[in-house]
C-alpha cells in the first residue's frame, strides 16, 4: 500500500521534443492517496496507458519524478517497485497449472513453501477458482485466465499498488459484471491502492472512489463519480461521462439568466458578462420534455432503451438529448423543454465558470 506522487511528470515518445504537441503526457503534479481506488478514464491516445506504464516502471519518463510514499522511484526497476499489473489480454504461463501460476511471484522471491501454499489457497478462494487450482492454465476460458492474472497480482501481500490496463476488454458482457464486482469487493476487503485504466465510463465510475479524466495528455478533472456527473469542470468531462453525454449549447450569459436565441434559461448562480466561447451545459437527465412553457424543440427520434427513453431533438439548430424515465408518457404535444437550474453549468472556452451565489 503506498501513496503515489507525480512530481512535474511529463513524457514524450520522441527523442527531441520541441513543443507541447510532442508530449504524449503533459506536465502532471498529483498525489494519489494510499489505499484508494482510482480510475484513469479517457479516449484512446489520451495518455492513460503511458501514465500507467510510467507508474509500473515499464516506461521511463522524459521529465519529472515519481515517488512511492515520498521515496523517489523514478530510477527504480519494475521489480523493485513492488507493483502488480493486469494487462488487456490475459497473461498466464500456459504450461503451468493455476496453482503454479499463482505461486510464481512468491517462488521467485524465495518465500517458504508453506507460506506459498497458504497464500495460493487464500487467493484461489478469493478469485473463485479454488476448484480449478490443479488444472493446466492453457485450456481455460478468457475470463478464467484474466482472474488468474488478477490473482497473480494480488498474491504478494506487500504489493504497493495494483494497476489494471483495460482488463475487461476480452471479457463477455455477462462476465464483466462478475469480475467488476469481484474487483470491487477485493478493494473493499484488502484496501490496496488500485489504479484502473479504461475508456469505458461505466467501468470507471462503478469501480473507482475517484476518477481521473484525461484528455490529450492532460488531467482534466479528478473527482468522485458524483462530482463528475453533476459538476463537470470541462466540457470534455461532460461529454465523456454519461450516456448520452452532456448537452452543450452556445449561449449568452448575464446575471442569473442564460439566453439561447432569445429564449431565457434560469441559472442557479449570478455571472458577470462573460467573454470568449460561452456555452451552457446540462445533462439529458436534467432536461424535461413538456407541453407547457419552455424552450421550443423539434423531436426527431424517441429511442426506447428499456429502463428509460432517449429523446433526440433539435433546439435552435443544436442537437439536444433528453432522458425520460420508463413511465413518462411522451405525446406529440410535448414540443418544449425545461432545464433544471441546479444542474445547468456555464462554460467559458470549455472550462466551467463558477458564478456567485445569488
Amino acid at each position: 500500500m503506498a501513496k503515489i506522487t507525480l512530481d512535474n511528470l511529463a513524457h514524450s515518445y520522441l527523442t527531441n521534443p520541441s513543443g507541447e504537441a510532442d508530449y504524449a503526457l503533459k506536465e502532471l503534479n498529483h498525489v494519489w492517496s494510499d489505499g484508494e481506488a482510482y480510475a484513469l478514464l479517457g479516449a484512446s491516445g489520451c495518455g492513460k496507458s503511458t501514465l500507467l506504464n510510467i507508474i509500473s516502471g515499464l516506461l521511463h519518463p522524459s521529465k519529472g519524478r515519481i515517488l512511492f510514499d515520498d521515496v523517489d522511484m523514478t530510477e527504480a526497476s519494475t521489480a523493485d517497485r513492488n507493483i502488480a499489473q493486469v494487462f488487456q489480454f490475459p497473461v498466464v504461463y500456459d504450461t503451468m497449472t493455476v496453482r503454479d501460476n499463482l505461486a510464481f511471484p512468491l517462488k521467485n522471491r524465495g518465500e517458504s513453501p508453506q507460506y506459498i501454499a497458504e497464500r495460493v489457497q487464500q487467493i484461489g478462494k478469493m478469485i473463485g477458482m479454488e476448484a480449478q487450482l490443479d488444472k493446466r492454465a492453457r485450456g481455460l476460458t478468457a475470463d478464467a485466465k484474466q482472474k488468474i492474472s488478477l490473482g497473480r497480482g494480488m498474491v504478494r501481500e506487500d504489493v504497493n499498488a495494483l494497476l489494471f490496463d483495460e482488463p475487461l476488454t476480452v471479457i463477455d458482457p455477462h462476465m464483466k459484471w462478475e469480475l467488476r464486482t469481484q474487483l470491487k469487493s477485493l478493494h473493499n476487503e484488502f484496501g490496496h491502492t488500485m489504479i484502473y485504466v479504461t475508456h469505458d465510463q461505466t467501468e470507471a465510475l462503478t469501480f473507482a472512489d475517484k476518477v481521473v479524466v484525461m484528455y490529450d495528455g492532460r488531467v482534466v478533472q479528478i473527482g468522485t463519480p458524483q462530482e463528475l456527473f453533476e459538476r463537470p469542470e470541462h466540457t470534455f468531462v461532460g461529454y465523456f461521462i454519461g450516456s448520452p453525454g452532456m448537452n452543450v449549447i452556445p449561449a449568452a450569459v448575464e446575471g442569473m439568466t442564460a439566453s439561447v436565441h432569445g429564449a431565457e434559461i434560469a441559472l442557479r448562480e449570478a455571472f458577470e458578462p462573460l467573454r470568449g466561447k460561452v456555452e451552457i451545459g446540462v445533462r439529458p437527465e436534467f432536461v424535461t420534455l413538456t407541453d407547457g412553457n419552455g424552450l421550443p424543440v423539434n423531436v426527431r427520434r424517441v429511442e426506447d432503451v428499456g429502463r428509460h427513453r432517449i429523446v433526440r431533438a433539435d433546439l435552435f439548430g443544436n442537437e439536444i438529448n433528453i432522458v425520460a424515465s420508463e413511465d413518462t408518457h411522451i405525446s406529440p404535444e410535448m414540443t418544449r423543454v425545461t432545464f433544471d437550474p441546479t444542474h445547468v453549468n456555464v462554460y467559458v472556452d470549455d472550462w466551467r465558470q463558477a458564478g456567485k451565489a445569488a
Partner: protein, 362 residues
C-alpha cells in the same frame, strides 16, 4: 425483397452450431441478432451470406432458392468486428473496390464513393491508407465499402465491439441513419442488449445455437417468451426467484407471501420462476402491495447518477439498479421492494406464463 430461412441448421463434426431455424426478414428492416459469445450469431450470419452451406434446410432470396449459390453471386455486403480494409489501397480505392468488380463506369464509381464517404464523414481522408486512420475511421471505411455496393443484404458482425465506448455511442447513432438511406435488409449481431434496444427494428435472441424469440425489439424486451430470452435480453442480468402459488397467495422466500393479483390470479397452483429486472428493484416502497425482500448488501457501485446494488437473498445473487446516488452500508441488511406489476412469471420449464403487467400496458 426478403430473406427466408426454412429449417436451416448447421452441424459441424457432431456439434450442432445452429438448431433448425425458420426466419423471415423483410425489405428495409433492421434485424438484430442478440446473444452471448458463441451463441451462434456469426454462424447464422455466415449461413445468410452464403459463406457456409447449411446442413439442412434452404435459404430463399426474393423467393428464389439460393442455398447452393456462391457468396460472390449474391448481393451481400459484410462488415466485421476487426476493421477489415485492404491495407495497401487508399480509402477511396477501398470504397470503390466492390463497384470496380461490378464493372461500373468511372463517373458512377466516383459519385457513389464520394456519397458514401460523406455519409461516413470520411471526405477529407479519401487519399489516406487505412492504417493511417484511427480505429473509428477504419471501421467507417469498412462500413462505407459495405454500403456503396447497395447490396440487398448487409450483415454487420459486432462492428463496434473493438471501438472505444464513446466512439461506439457515436457510430451507433449513425448506423440507423445509414440504414434508412440504404433501404436494404440489415442484420446486426451484438452481445449487448442496450445496442439492440437503441437500434430498434426487430430482434432475434440467440442462446446456444437456437433462436429463442424473434419479433419487434420492444416486444421481445417487454414480453419475452421464456426465461432464456429474458436472461439474454437484460443487462444487468435479470434476477430470478422461485415462488409457489397456493390459492390466493404467492409464497416465496421464508414463508412470506403476497396476494395473487392481476396476471397471477388465474394461474393454477404450483411452483414458478419469477423474474424481474434490476431497474425495478426499489429501496423505498412506492406502492402498496409491493413485495418485500430481506437482503444483505454485498457491494455497491456508483454510476454518477445511479447506484448498482449487489444483494444476497438467501444465497442468491441479485442486482438492483437504483436511481440516484446512495451511500449504503455494506454487509448490512437492506430491505428492497418490488412492485408485482414488474414481475414476470415463468413456468418451471422456463416458458413465460404471465408477462409483467406493466409491459402489457406500455
Amino acid at each position: 425483397m426478403a430473406l427466408e430461412l426454412k429449417n436451416v441448421s448447421k452441424v459441424v463434426g457432431g456439434q450442432t452450431h445452429i438448431h433448425p431455424t425458420d426466419l423471415t426478414l423483410s425489405k428495409g428492416t433492421m434485424n438484430v441478432l442478440l446473444g452471448p459469445t458463441l451463441s451462434g450469431k456469426t454462424s447464422l450470419m455466415r449461413l445468410m451470406a452464403g459463406l457456409d452451406k447449411p446442413t439442412t434446410g434452404q435459404i430463399f432470396w426474393n423467393g428464389e432458392d439460393v442455398t447452393g449459390t456462391r457468396v460472390q453471386d449474391r448481393e451481400v455486403a459484410m462488415v466485421y468486428q476487426q476493421f477489415i480494409n485492404y491495407p495497401t489501397m487508399t480509402v477511396y480505392d477501398n470504397i470503390a473496390s466492390p463497384l470496380r468488380i461490378l464493372g461500373k463506369s468511372r463517373q458512377e464509381i466516383d459519385a457513389a464513393v464520394r456519397k458514401a464517404a460523406d455519409l461516413m464523414q470520411l471526405g477529407p481522408m479519401l487519399d489516406r491508407k487505412p492504417l493511417e486512420l484511427s480505429g473509428g475511421q477504419q471501421q467507417r471505411c469498412a462500413l462505407a465499402r459495405a454500403l456503396v455496393k447497395d447490396a440487398g443484404l448487409v450483415l454487420l458482425d459486432e462492428p463496434l465491439a473493438n471501438l472505444d465506448y464513446k466512439l461506439r455511442e457515436e457510430l451507433r447513432v449513425e448506423i440507423p441513419k445509414i440504414f434508412e438511406e440504404a433501404g436494404s435488409i440489415f442484420v446486426y449481431a451484438t452481445t449487448e442488449p442496450e445496442e439492440a434496444l437503441l437500434l430498434g427494428g426487430a430482434t432475434a435472441t440467440l442462446w446456444e445455437g437456437r433462436v429463442t424469440q424473434f419479433g419487434a425489439t420492444p416486444t421481445v424486451y417487454r414480453q419475452p417468451v421464456d426465461a432464456t430470452t429474458a436472461r439474454v435480453f437484460s443487462d444487468p442480468p435479470m434476477n430470478f426467484l422461485s415462488v409457489s402459488k397456493m390459492g390466493a397467495k404467492v409464497m416465496f422466500g421464508d414463508g412470506q407471501s403476497v396476494p395473487a393479483v392481476g396476471p397471477l390470479e388465474p394461474l393454477p397452483d404450483g411452483r414458478y420462476l419469477a423474474g424481474f429486472r434490476p431497474n425495478h428493484v426499489e429501496i423505498i416502497s412506492h406502492s402498496a402491495g409491493a413485495m418485500v425482500f430481506d437482503t444483505t448488501l454485498m457491494v455497491t457501485e456508483l454510476n454518477g447518477s445511479e447506484t448498482f446494488v449487489h444483494l444476497d437473498h438467501h444465497g442468491e445473487r441479485w442486482v438492483g439498479l437504483i436511481h440516484g446516488v446512495h451511500d449504503l452500508e455494506l454487509g448490512a441488511p437492506l430491505k428492497v421492494y418490488l412492485d408485482p406489476r414488474h414481475v414476470y412469471i415463468f413456468g418451471e420449464d422456463g416458458k413465460l406464463v404471465a408477462p409483467a403487467s406493466y409491459a402489457l400496458a406500455a
